[in-house]
Amino acid sequence: MNDKNAVGVDLGTFWLPRQSSTIAAEMDLGWDVAYWLSVFFFVGIVAAMAYFMWRYRRRSENDITSTVDHSLPIEITWTVIPSIMCVGLFLVGFKGYINASIAPAESYEVQVRAQKWSWKFIYPNGTVADELRVPLGKPVRLIMSSTDVLHSFYVPEFRIKADVVPGNYTTVWFEATELGEKQIFCTEYCGDDHSFMLASVIVLEPAKFQEWLQSTEGPPAGVSPVEHGQKLFARNCASCHTVDGTARVGPTLLKVFGKDEKLADGSTVKVDENYLRESILNPNAKVVFGFQPVMSPFKGLLKDHELDALIAYIKELK
């Protein structure tokens, strides 16, 4: 699969991915218990079946067959013993689940915004990223919501999964135990590009993580605002707006700056810095004539220096 977000799932055992979070080992204990019990019962049942198939094959039409049709002690045995086992299995699963459900109080919190078909990770300082960068060895709690339909956040190597529900917050937490990139899948069907809704967790040394987080505070060094704006445009706007003069879901932004734009309500507005800023943060306030008010607001998703860069880029589209 040709996708920058397809980083792959590393295997730990034949059956399961690597254990890359603190809870993974306990989650897998449940797997091991269920697995070996299943192997035991499966082998026992199939062995008995195979033996009976051979031993009691029909030899003649007049075979005398057993008329033993019940046995209370046996019936009680194979009801009670599995019942006890089931309670045990429940308890193992319950213990792992409760530990995985309760995030440590000192967890670092990151907001997750899911939408068709991408993930956005929003840090306490307002930085918005397409990859989830986290520090090694520190519990991270994700507070997740969706802007459209159901999605589900799944990191196989962390053994975490939770649906992301519109109109609601759901949470997961993890503490990464090794450096590197881990695969994020969407596992709740969400339409056309469900299978492309991938992202990655990048686990960094705590110092490196802090360094990265600070680097997002201001405009990136050594890059002009127009170049920075072009990158932001490609990531955030290009799926609906072109820069070549053709209309898509939204109007083209070629030669838009300085133009008198006719609005859906019949009035006219001059496209200046303030109109562009308003239309990015609150796009449905003044919708261009001939287009639907379908753009989602970017309020809270862009920092001021990023808005400046975007506007600088749009002004250059002559």
């Binding site: 799932v9 299943s38 009691y56 029909r58 019940h70 469900h194």
Partner: protein, 544 residues
């Protein structure tokens, strides 16, 4: 019992005498019949066509997944294909097949009755099924549908396409299911033959009774859910869509409140068939009759209490998930009791490797895997990792296909001589069973491994690391398809070319083997009296 039991075939090229197949002629005589046997045959044909259509979409889905990237269809077409596969298989095949086709045919005969309690209502069920099927077909052709068979909101309440028509189709199909269940409940209560108390019923009828209870009690909830979804789409009522003030998780509660019991509508009749076929072809009294009978009822009741185990990671509270997990484990007990009793029925038997028996043994093998992998998913912690991966797909195909479909095929081959008065080619029957068994395991066992390694379900495209496993699974689906083609050929050609079937080809004791094959329209010339249990093979031996 009054009548003798001819085990050897009567001479002659065609079944002799007047029977339900030749009593009246012409299409109209079939469309206006109230004979449960003819209605059963029409259900059989209808549900098999649905099975063929659902299977066709399954093969398309598997073919698309043979390699990474686009093979034969776009992502939108793929999403429609898996939706249609699931919706057709669940609503048009698995739910109606065994009750509508097989139970409809044999239930009244097994209780020595002339027909079900409400023959006209029975015909109406079939017409409602057809109407529902036509509406679903209209939705597919008219708008297409890509929501998955689960119709989860708010995707289903906002996406374009034939969602409203499809939900209406499912709504209508539900009434067919309700009326069939109602008919069977009344028939079993009121029309049993003289001397046939509840514990002289074949276990298939206990299972059908338990199924009927679920059909009558649970299906209305599906109808309500589908109506609410349609109301949200048509009138903008905010029920499930948070943009309108609704709650999407509420839809999942409603949906699984029906659809989990529906899992038992699908599997319980299959379990009933296995009890009967296993006992007859091992010619051994069933072991643990009462335990098997009561476990069917227990499963029917438990099925109403465990719907939340579909939602451990859906955003329901931890307390709810914990309670549902605990209750879910109790489903394992009656299921396990049945498996142990079936094994014990093989002990001390005289096992004949007929086609129905081979399907039954396949069922035991595959259902054991399906049941045991359900234990993984019932455990809260393990389910977090496995939920919505291929592990779940493999699990429910082992239960639904390895379980219900194998049992359906066992029953179909078991009662085929009774239904059509002909035997099929036993060798071809065994070959088809072997192909289906091998193809099924090749297709689905690898999916457990894919799933536990993290492959999410409903994915059009996937990571390169899963490619070889997907390709293996796809090749398995071709073997599976070939097995079904051989079976179809065998069953169709045998309708006219098969050897004439005796009244009792397998040496069964229950009442359907005490009437000619095929039975006369009124089933029995004289009302039979029941003096023994359905598995007392020594009565057969002493009668000889």
């Amino acid at each position: 019992m009054a009548e003798s039991l001819p085990i050897s075939a009567p001479h002659g090229a065609t079944p002799s005498g007047t029977n339900y197949l030749n009593a009246e002629k012409g299409i109209l005589s079939w469309l206006t019949t109230v004979d449960h046997k003819r209605i059963g045959v029409m259900y059989l044909v209808s549900t098999l066509i649905a099975f063929g259509a659902g299977g066709f979409f399954a093969l398309l889905v598997r073919l698309e997944l043979i390699a990474v990237g686009q093979q034969i269809m776009t992502n939108k077409q793929y999403n429609q294909a898996f939706t249609l596969h699931g919706a057709i298989m669940v609503f048009l095949f698995i739910i109606p097949s065994i009750p509508g086709a097989l139970a409809n045919f044999v239930l009244p005969i097994m209780v020595g009755a002339k027909d079900v309690a409400f023959p006209r209502l029975n015909l109406m069920s079939l017409y409602i099924y057809w109407l529902g099927a036509i509406i679903c077909l209209g939705a597919i052709v008219g708008g297409g549908i890509d929501t998955g068979w689960t119709f989860y909101t708010p995707y289903s309440s906002t996406v374009d396409g034939g969602v409203v028509a499809m939900t209406m189709g499912v709504f209508v199909l539900g009434f067919s299911s309700i009326l069939t269940g109602l008919n069977f409940i009344v028939t079993l209560h009121k029309l049993r033959a003289p001397g046939q108390d509840w514990f002289r019923l074949p276990l298939f009828l206990w299972a059908t009774y338990a199924t009927s209870i679920i059909q009558v009690l649970a299906t209305p909830v599906l109808a309500i859910t589908m109506l609410l979804l349609a109301a949200e789409r048509l009138f903008g009522l905010g029920i499930f869509d948070p943009a309108l003030g609704g709650d999407p998780v509420l839809f999942q509660h409603f949906f699984w409140f029906y659809s989990h019991p529906a899992v038992y509508i699908m599997i319980l009749p299959g379990m009933g068939i296995i009890s009967d076929v296993l006992s007859v072809h091992a010619r051994r009294k069933i072991f643990g009759y009462r335990a098997i009978a009561y476990s069917s009822v227990a499963l029917a009741l438990l099925s109403f209490l465990v719907w939340g185990h579909h939602m451990f990671v859906a955003g329901q509270s931890e307390l709810a998930s914990t309670i549902f997990s605990f209750l879910t484990f109790f489903v394992a007990i009656p299921s396990g009791v049945k498996v142990f009793n079936w094994l014990s029925t093989m002990w001390g038997g005289s096992i004949s490797y007929t086609t129905p028996m081979l399907f039954t043994l396949s069922f035991l093998f595959l259902f054991t895997i399906g049941g045991l992998t359900g234990v993984f998913l019932g455990m809260l912690s393990v389910d977090v990792h496995l939920h919505d991966t291929y592990f779940v797909i493999a699990h429910f195909h082992y239960v639904m296909m390895g379980g219900t479909v194998m049992a359906f095929l066992a029953g179909l081959h078991h009662w085929y001589p009774k239904m059509f008065g002909r035997m099929y080619n036993e060798t071809l029957g065994r070959i088809s069973c072997l192909l289906v068994f091998i193809g099924f395991n090749a297709t689905f066992f690898i999916q457990f491994i894919m799933g536990s390694r993290g492959m999410p379900r409903r994915y059009y495209n996937y990571l390169d690391q899963y490619q070889s496993m997907h390709a293996f699974s796809t090749v398995g689906s071709w073997i599976l398809g070939l097995g079904f083609l051989v079976m179809l050929y065998n069953l169709l050609t045998s309708l006219t070319k098969g050897a004439v079937a005796p009244a009792n080809p397998w040496g069964g004791v229950s009442l359907e083997w005490h009437t000619p094959s095929p039975p006369p329209t009124e089933n029995f010339h004289d009302t039979p009296t029941v003096n023994n249990g359905p598995y007392d093979y020594d009565t057969l031996r002493s009668a000889k």
